[in-house]
Symmetry: C2
Subunit: 195 residues, 2 copies
């Protein structure tokens, strides 16, 4: 009887191993050891090493976006939604150090990720941000000719870089402490003058 949550255990092990060593320098056997199983067993659940990475990203990213979407629905005005989004983005990464390492650093090997495999999950996140911005424009809270697509990338890129710096540094400070600064700069940037 196949253990139904073995794939999950493998993924969690892979996160820790990739975080420690990086995708290309990790052996499949390392993941196996970390998961407490034999290397061959992995191939009962995943066709290739790459599939582990793709699956892990898909899953975690989808989960992340779903979580944000749920939380954000509780806020009503667009500014509050964005502030909450930024704060949660940082909080989640901060509380999952290994995952953060993988997402921020290892997943950037473009050909496989942002392009291709996980484009769908990433764009779901972009859609989430984009729709908040559109609501804000419609509600007259943000500048009427805000280029929403560019602004979406600006916010995502800003959060992403702040997070990456935090991961690459010694993590010698609390990531979430930067949340307000990032949100404030962005909100001032997209809001009507003098608001």
């Amino acid at each position: 009887m196949r253990d139904p949550d073995k794939p999950q255990q493998i993924i969690e092990a892979a996160i820790r191993v990739f975080a420690r060593t990086g995708y290309y320098s990790s052996r499949v056997s390392d993941i196996a050891r970390e998961a407490g199983i034999a290397s061959g067993t992995i191939y009962l659940y995943f066709k290739t090493k790459e599939e582990i990475l793709v699956t892990l990203f898909r899953e975690k990213m989808a989960e992340f976006v779903a979580f944000l979407r749920r939380e954000i629905a509780e806020e009503h005005d667009p500014e509050a939604k964005l502030r909450r989004l930024v704060r949660l983005h940082f909080t989640v990464l901060e509380q999952n150090a290994a995952l953060a390492e993988v997402v921020q650093v290892e997943l950037r090997q473009g050909h496989k990720f942002f392009r291709g495999a996980s484009a769908h999950e990433v764009s779901a996140y972009f859609d989430l941000i984009g729709s908040i911005l559109e609501d804000g424009v419609a509600a007259g809270r943000f500048h009427a000719d805000l280029p929403v697509k560019v602004a979406t990338k600006v916010l995502f890129g800003a959060m992403d870089q702040v997070a990456t710096s935090w991961v690459l540094g010694k993590r010698g400070y609390r990531l979430v402490d930067s949340a307000d600064a990032v949100a404030t700069i962005f909100l001032k940037g997209v809001s009507h003058d003098g608001v």
Copy 2:
């Protein structure tokens, strides 16, 4: 007599090959073929494959920052400096498609780059942005308690993400057309209210 610009030819070839195939999927022999030399020759100039990548990044990044620094010195107020910086950042990437691909997509394998080898060159860029922001604060053009470090990352991240999206997309539009939007959002974000 060693050809003194053979290393340069190898680097230019490597940029094209890495852009096409990605670092890990490129053979050293592919770079050799692209450069019109034998694979062994590469080892007369570079100790390992990785050294090619590190050198290429170091060199191009240093060149890039030096260029920006020079251009920006021509502007006098901080806002104009930042607008020019954003515009040039995009222009350079747009005019060097292969280089853009490598820098935006391939170089993100953190263990080797942002961390380690090229940290110095990257932080030179951060310093450039940071010092413009500080000047702006000192001159009273930007918000007095602007968290300069965070703001630096916000701007860099924003440009970076807009550029990455452009590279990953089909490049079906002009990257530089987003420059004003990015600069405007950021400047409004860091400036005094009602300016």
